[in-house]
């Protein structure tokens, strides 16, 4: 899934794909991007099922009246009109259900000797997810991102890069290659992704397994690498960084 994202598809717009096991869709949106009048032109999250035919999604949207592959209501900002509190609860329920189903599937595979795979399980098995705040150094207005709609750190980083670093969708040079987006996760950009955990401590994103991360994260912050003291292991020298930057 990650490889597919990075390779790109040679389309005119970078579309996010989700590799969710939650039934293939997303119930919520990250936040509205400005778009034209037609609702189909917004940035949106696609389901894993759309991935193979994602190039034709745009055509499908504008042809919605003709009835070809009807766009799912869950892909439009603020639609269906369900209050965010209720929406979070709905998504949590579905996540818990899937988590529980996965757990039960895992349990069957696991011996008594081994640790259960899901280290994030709470006492009564619930997983609290939903929208969390994201702030970036130097940007006054924060955003919110729906953790449920992501399945990995790469997904999340991609979303955040789109939110904060893109004024236009990712552009493609004539050779058909992407201009490389800033990488928040490997320390190669001037920003680094951090989070506040349940105990109120600020931590670097990426150290723990994704499932553990999403149960303990309270909010995110895109921090200037220069301010992130003590992260020497992942921080590269500026010169090195420039050398590593894509042409």
């Amino acid at each position: 899934m990650i490889t597919e994202l990075e390779m790109g598809k040679g389309e005119s717009e970078l579309e996010l794909g989700l590799g969710l096991s939650l039934g293939g869709g997303t119930a919520a949106k990250i936040g509205g991007k400005s778009g034209g009048g037609a609702w189909g032109e917004r940035g949106r999250l696609l389901t894993a099922k759309d991935f193979p035919s994602v190039g034709s999604k745009r055509a499908a949207d504008s042809a919605s009246h003709a009835g070809s592959s009807p766009p799912r209501s869950s892909q439009v900002v603020g639609w269906p009109p369900i209050g965010s509190h209720r929406m979070n609860s709905l998504v949590n329920n579905q996540a818990t259900k899937s988590a529980r189903e996965e757990e039960e599937a895992d349990k069957k595979k696991v011996n008594d000797d081994h640790q259960p795979k899901d280290v994030t399980k709470k006492v009564n098995g619930k997983v609290q997810l939903g929208f969390i705040k994201v702030n970036m150094d130097g940007v006054a207005i924060g955003r919110k991102v729906d953790l449920n709609a992501h399945s990995s750190y790469e997904n999340l980083a991609q979303t955040l890069e789109d939110m904060f670093f893109r004024t236009n969708p990712g552009t493609i040079g004539l050779t058909g290659q992407f201009t490389k987006p800033l990488r928040l996760l490997d320390g190669s950009s001037e920003f680094v992704l951090t989070y506040e955990d349940k105990e109120g401590d600020w931590m670097l994103v990426g150290d723990v397994p994704w499932r553990m991360f999403i149960t303990s994260v309270k909010r995110l912050r895109v921090m200037k690498t220069s301010e992130a003291n003590g992260l020497a292991a992942r921080h590269q020298e500026p010169k090195e960084r420039q050398r590593n930057q894509p042409a």
């Binding site: 509205g32 766009p71 900002v77 009109p81 509190h85 619930k126 609290q128 006054a140």
Partner: protein, 578 residues
């Protein structure tokens, strides 16, 4: 009436509670205006930016109860960015430094901080009731202030707020001397709850009528709580385990059986259906049932429960009840007045036909429940024929909100637009005050709405209409229109500018992803000193790159509202007030 001394007139006025009636009274003559303003206890402000706290206090110095609403309705669906506004703090500050003896504060869609709550708790010795609906910006620390300092607190009602749960001991902050609680609702809190503190609190609150728990309160605690509060009228259940042991279950049943006053049930936030039988004894008395957060309760368990609720007047449910379940409701709940059916599966992946509701369920309800007057119905499909039948069966609708999940979806049998169906609804339901339309709709439906919906006060439009005529029909026809909210519909400047004075008769207009341009909004704002015209653009970066602004640019979001206090000063940079 002017032959009577003022005290007598005032005494008569005190029997009039509705704020609209009060507003009418105050317009009769100067003398009545003066008498009325000094005896008005409850003030309702539908838009916190229409007036400011100083003028409020000047006019109504004796007010005891204030209701304030902040953000526009579409903020509920993440269409209004953070920090847009709706801050309650200036209001509390102003009230605090005046002589107002505030006793009740009700807020909806406002930003509330811990600082505000702390100031509130310290400023009004007789403060009795705090109701927060869809608010945000505070934490359980703020609740701790309220608990600690409001000696006469009766009501703390938190509905669907975004509260940072610091897992502090706010429940412990209620002093032992606090025995006046009548209503406590903390269902929206996400964190752990100090159950022991809660039990002690409930035990010393003999007047507690409403108790709504959050997820963190388990089954055995519920049984203990109900044992010490058999006088409960309204209960929100927290969580249930999957398989309660027989002893816990028995204790719960025993406790519930004593609750002969129980009339309203909600919550079941983490509930397994196996525990429902414990509630069977009270079902026959229930008038309100809210299972819209109870994803696990469906199928036969749900049906069995509903079949016992013969006196139900209000039902909020998930669409997993299915058409079959709604048929049962129609057969059982003859007293039903309000029904809300929410979607349970947003991915649309389930092909399971039983898992959703369609026009069949709606028609069944309309046929079986003669007293039905309010409906909110999320469904996957609809037909004109069904809507026409519903209109015939239920001409008494006051609120009719239909949301077909897929935008632009036509009548699934005839493939036509749904104009005729909605037209039938507005024509039959002469008392209709609130309407939400959806599905494939042309301008025709708006012609019908303008012609027939004489009492309509609030209209919500999404993905509908063809030309400016649609919006014009509504603006010209609906004389009592107060709130109009439109998204993703092709209405532009011609409609927006046709009758600028109309907006001063309304509370507000919202238009997002429509065809109105910056130029149009500017022209609107130029001639309207008593309107605030706000443009909300989230992606400022695009616009800042360009040095000139293009008047032909379409506006992302337009929010305009009438006001007597001019431009607000607390707008964030991405909100432009013209």
């Amino acid at each position: 009436m002017n032959y009577f001394p003022e005290e007598v007139i005032e005494h008569v006025f005190n029997f009039i509670a509705s704020h609209r009636d009060r507003n009418s009274i105050s317009l009769v003559c100067k003398s009545w205006h003066k008498i009325e303003r000094f005896c008005r206890k409850k003030v309702f402000i539908g838009n916190c930016y229409a007036i400011n706290p100083e003028r409020l206090i000047r006019r109504f110095p004796c007010l005891k109860s204030l209701t304030l609403k902040g953000k526009p309705h579409f903020a509920d669906f993440n269409l209004v960015p953070y920090e847009w506004g709706g801050f309650v703090h200036p209001w509390i500050e102003a009230l605090s430094s005046s002589h107002v003896g505030l006793e009740e504060l009700r807020l909806k869609r406002m930003v509330v901080t811990d600082e505000s709550l702390d100031l509130l708790s310290r400023s009004f010795p007789n403060f009795k009731s705090l109701v927060l609906v869809s608010c945000e910006g505070f934490t359980t620390d703020g609740l701790a202030s309220i608990a600690s300092n409001c000696r006469h607190l009766r009501e703390l009602d938190l509905q669907e707020n975004e509260i940072d749960d610091h897992r502090g001991q706010w429940l412990n902050c209620f002093p032992d001397s606090c025995t006046t609680l009548t209503s406590l609702n903390f269902a929206c809190l996400k964190g752990e709850t100090n159950v022991a503190a809660l039990e002690r609190l409930v035990a010393r609150s003999p007047n507690l009528k409403t108790l709504k728990l959050n997820r963190a309160v388990p089954l055995d605690a519920l049984a203990r709580l109900m044992s010490c509060a058999p006088q409960l009228v309204d209960l929100g259940v927290g969580s249930y385990e999957n398989e309660p042991d027989p002893e816990s279950f028995r204790k719960l049943m025993a406790a519930i059986q004593k609750c002969s006053s129980l009339r309203s049930l909600s919550g079941f936030l983490e509930a397994a259906p196996l525990c429902l039988p414990a509630f069977y004894p009270v079902c026959q008395n229930l008038i309100s049932l809210n299972l819209s957060y109870a994803a696990e309760i469906r199928g036969n368990h749900l049906i069995k429960l509903i079949q016992l609720c013969k006196r139900l007047q209000r039902l909020w449910i998930l669409d997993s009840i299915g058409d079959k379940g709604l048929v049962v409701v129609a057969a059982t709940c003859k007293e039903l007045q309000e029904l809300r059916v929410f979607p349970s599966d947003l991915h649309g992946e389930e092909d399971n036909n039983n898992a959703a509701v369609t026009e069949v369920g709606l028609v069944a309800i309309s046929a079986g429940c003669p007293k039905l007057h309010s409906i909110l119905y999320f469904c996957k499909q609809m037909t004109n024929a069904a809507l026409i039948t519903v209109a015939k069966n239920c001409p008494n609708f006051i609120r009719f909100r239909l949301c077909i999940l897929e935008p632009h979806k036509p009548d699934h049998i005839t493939s036509q637009s749904l104009d005729e169906g909605f037209g039938a609804i507005v024509q039959a339901c002469k008392g209709l005050r609130r309407l939400s339309v959806s599905g494939l709709l042309n301008d025709q439906v708006f012609l019908y709405i303008g012609m027939y919906a004489e009492e309509l006060e609030m209209l919500s439009i999404a993905f509908a209409g063809e030309t400016d005529k649609g919006m014009l029909y509504v603006l010209n026809g609906c004389k009592k229109l107060r709130k109009l909210e439109i998204r993703d519909s092709p209405f532009g400047n011609a409609a927006l500018l046709a009758d600028v004075h109309k907006y001063e008769t309304m509370r507000s207009l919202w238009m997002s992803s429509c065809e109105v341009t910056l130029g149009g909004c500017k022209r609107l704002a130029q001639n309207s000193p008593r309107l605030n015209v706000e443009i909300i653009n989230e992606s400022e970066s695009n616009r800042m790159e360009r040095n000139e602004e293009d008047e032909r640019d379409k506006v992302d979001k337009l929010y305009l509202y009438r006001t007597v206090v001019g431009t607000r000063k607390d707008a964030p940079p991405y909100v432009r007030i013209l």
